[in-house]
């Protein structure tokens, strides 16, 4: 318990260091561009694949669980749309990214810690926390909303392809369904969640990496912890945000 509280304290101290005034904007800009590529663009592939199959399976599940003539079939399209927008494209994608991006951030920063690269930065007079972490935070805050939008579109396309291929719904019904009683605020809700989750993934994982002590074994452990802690935090915030935003 004591370790938890002191860890929580150091997490906030680290954040204070991260958001100190950057010393040279041009360098931060360059780093942010690099991170946009490595944390953002390189996540498009996995997001697309997951979203496609998620959309497909949700459609089929909805179809097989509502095989009752009193339900019109367009409800399948509607169910697929809402499930994807409300939960899957923000939360599930965030959990997958916590695995991919979180572990890579923790191991990158952790390796820099144990090989004294962070000491080298500090010794030059560079604010290492800000230099290493701020560009990642900004890059994911900027890019993850796009990933969520991509995920929504691809998920719905996946649902449509699976639904029509399996013959559970016609294209007309599906399209009618995804337009029926559409609430635009759901998209906003999803994007707000994504911003919180992006912040959690980068800062929690960076925190795990930044305070590694020891060698490569500890770096490995830190990257596992990064994934576990950021996933649990995401799930916790998912509940809190849902209550705050939808009630």
């Amino acid at each position: 318990m004591f370790r938890f509280i002191s860890g929580f304290g150091s997490y906030w101290l680290l954040l204070a260091k991260v958001f100190a005034r950057p010393e040279k904007h041009s360098i931060y800009y360059r780093q942010t561009m690099k991170e946009l590529v490595s944390l953002g663009l390189r996540s498009i592939g996995i997001t697309t694949i997951i979203s496609f199959f998620m959309g497909a399976v949700i459609t089929l599940q909805t179809a097989y669980n509502t095989e009752n003539p009193i339900y019109p079939t367009y409800l399948i399209g509607l169910g697929c749309r809402d499930a994807i927008i409300l939960e899957f494209s923000s939360t599930i994608v965030a959990l997958i990214l916590a695995g991919k991006v979180g572990s890579s951030i923790a191991s990158e920063i952790g390796t820099m810690r144990v090989t004294e690269q962070i000491d080298a930065l500090e010794l030059m007079g560079v604010n290492s926390a800000s230099y290493l972490i701020l560009p990642k935070v900004i890059a994911t805050l900027v890019f993850n909303p796009f990933l969520t939008l991509i995920s929504i579109v691809v998920g719905i396309v996946g649902g449509w392809i699976a639904g029509t291929a399996a013959g559970v719904i016609t294209t007309q019904d599906f399209i009618y369904g995804i337009q029926y009683a559409f609430i635009p605020y759901y998209i906003t809700y999803s994007l707000i969640k994504t911003l919180f989750f992006a912040f959690i993934i980068t800062t929690v994982s960076a925190f795990q990496g930044y305070y590694v002590e020891g060698g490569s074994l500890e770096v490995g452990r830190a990257s596992t912890k990064a994934v576990v802690y950021s996933s649990v935090t995401i799930l916790l915030f998912n509940v809190i945000l849902t209550q705050l935003l939808l009630s």
Binding site: E23, I27, T111, Q117, E122, M124
Partner: protein, 253 residues
């Protein structure tokens, strides 16, 4: 000039440095010697402020460095260069980017000026035609030399080297020693070098501090070291038979 006064440092109750005082003068290569695990790296990291000291004071000139906050330390750190025991080059950057990094961060030089300075520093350490290689593609000795080039890129007033020649062949190791000595005189830097290599002690030792188990046991220069009668120092310096013969003959003179 750098002055350390009564430095003590413990890790989790284990005392690693015990009340060490020392003065390091500019234009000289100051050596810290001692067995593996005696506390050399910890001492050096305390001097540069990477580790917090438990007790004592560290002065850079007239500034009490150990009491400064992050912003205050930053000003002095811009005048420091350090070679870490494991080189600590940035893996994600090429050789050129590594050496250019401090220039990018702290100067307003134009791109051409930066490139010129980078190439000058790399030439100084005999690294040519390797600008676009990554640290993983270099040998250990080359990494050390690139790290020296990075450390001197901003023409520091203080240079710290943690075991600059461990793991190198005798010839390369001499080249690196010479290099450190030359640039120290050239830029009138205060240089502090950690080492357990007796060759470089006999080559460079204008001022030597011997640490054993976290305590300063002896202080002097390379001519004095051969004649010293400090038992622990002699055990360390004359560990091999060649050195023992040397000692015997120097006492006969």
């Amino acid at each position: 000039m750098i002055r350390a006064e009564n430095i003590s440092k413990s890790f989790a109750g284990r005392e690693v440095l015990k009340n060490i005082s020392a003065t390091f003068e500019p234009g000289k290569t100051n050596l810290i010697i001692g067995k593996s695990g005696s506390g050399k790296t910890v001492f050096l990291k305390c001097i540069v402020g990477l580790l917090e000291i438990d007790e004592g004071k560290i002065w850079y000139g007239d500034t009490l460095f150990s009491k400064l906050d992050f912003t205050g330390k930053k000003e002095i750190r811009k005048e420091m260069g350090m070679l870490f025991q494991g080189s600590a080059l940035f893996d994600s950057m090429t050789v050129e980017e590594n050496v250019r990094f401090p220039l990018d961060m702290f100067t307003r030089m134009s791109e051409e000026e930066k490139l010129e300075r980078v190439n000058f520093c790399l030439q100084r350490v005999n690294i040519v035609n390797s600008n676009s290689l990554f640290p993983a593609e270099l040998s250990g000795g080359m990494r050390k030399r690139v790290a020296i080039a990075r450390a001197i890129a901003l023409k520091p007033r203080y240079l710290f080297c943690d075991e600059p020649n461990s793991g190198l062949d005798p010839k390369t190791s001499i080249v690196i020693d010479e290099l450190i000595k030359e640039i120290t005189v050239e830029l009138n830097m205060t240089t502090i070098v950690n080492t357990h290599d007796m060759n470089s002690v006999m080559e460079n030792g204008e001022k030597i501090i011997f640490i054993e188990e976290g305590e300063k046991c002896w202080e002097g220069c390379k001519t004095e070291i051969l004649k010293s009668d400090c038992k622990i120092l002699n055990d360390f310096v004359f560990a091999n038979s060649l050195a023992k013969q040397l000692k015997a003959s120097s006492l006969e003179e």
